[in-house]
Symmetry: C2
Subunit: 193 residues, 2 copies
């Protein structure tokens, strides 16, 4: 029986999803493997049968996050096929929504801050995934016909990254409240050049 309802989720996936959520909310060093497995309705042994170590689990969580981000990008393309400028505005809207909904920032950035050891295995992954996201945004800006595509993409990246961390330190009434206005203003300004 292949279980058409698909109700039964594999322990590995449950652990991964639960860990993602808990790492996101409480930070990596803020949750232990015991808490994760308990919340996932399983146990520590099962976790260590599927993941080599906590660090390994962290890395898999980051990859899963990157995968979700990919889905976002595909949604942009699906909703505005071929219209790169509309996709760029959709990116801004999505970013703003994340700011409003979420409260906690980017998992990769948070992990990078928390895992300060320069040789931590997750650092490689974070760097490469962040780099991929950057390239994607640069590509989008370029395809949208913006001259200084790299500069706009990098500026938007920094603005979003800054907004996410500002949200956590100053709060929602802080500078991050103006994110959309800043981003849209920048796009207009770069398009006029």
């Amino acid at each position: 029986m292949e279980d058409g309802t698909a109700e039964r989720v594999r322990p590995r996936d449950r652990i991964l999803e639960t860990a993602r959520d808990m790492f996101h909310k409480h930070g990596i060093k803020g949750v232990g493997v015991d808490a994760i497995t308990e919340a996932a309705g399983t146990n520590k042994m099962t976790l260590y049968r599927h993941f080599e170590s906590k660090d390994d689990l962290v890395i898999e969580c980051l990859r899963a996050t990157a995968c979700s981000a990919n889905a976002m990008w595909q949604k942009f393309e699906a909703e505005h096929p071929g219209d790169k400028l509309a996709q760029l505005h959709a990116w801004v809207r999505m970013a703003a929504d994340c700011l409003l909904m979420d409260g906690r920032g980017c998992d990769m950035a948070n992990a990078a801050i928390e895992l300060s050891e320069t040789d931590h295995p997750a650092r490689r992954v974070i760097k490469e995934l962040k780099q991929a996201q950057r390239d994607r945004l640069v590509g989008l800006c370029r395809d949208a016909g913006i001259g200084q595509a790299e500069l706009l993409a990098d500026t938007l990246s920094l603005l979003l990254e800054g907004a996410r961390v500002s949200l956590q330190s100053v709060g929602a009434e802080g500078p991050s409240a103006q994110f959309v206005r800043m981003a849209e203003g920048l796009i207009t300004s770069f398009r006029a050049r």
Copy 2:
């Protein structure tokens, strides 16, 4: 003997300075009080005679950081007395220098990310100190004769915050490398309005 050489530093100050440095480099949850006291050439009992708890020490460290930031602002005023626009450019230069020199981001922001518990005592302090810095930058922009002073100040804030975290996730070759160009461009653009 009042010790004119002032070589002898009080244990409390040694602990505070050492803790600041270590928290900055390795994060709050990344260093224990034992490591701090050992590096400060003292012991745990002395730490707990001067600070109620580790959280209390963290808060004092953040206040000390804010105090250092104040000194920066006074330096701007001293170097460019009355010339607010020059002080704004000095702020950009200082921010860029910090990015190049440091590698690790803003202590307050890092702490906010690490201490995810919403009721953590340090959160109040972080918020109020960050708010003060923001107000200061807004005031500088306004006094420099910029129309939309709040918007420029907030944009610069987010850019710097973003650059600091981007530095830790993507690295020095990432978007943060363009910080000065972005900031100067923004100032020019806002002045033209």
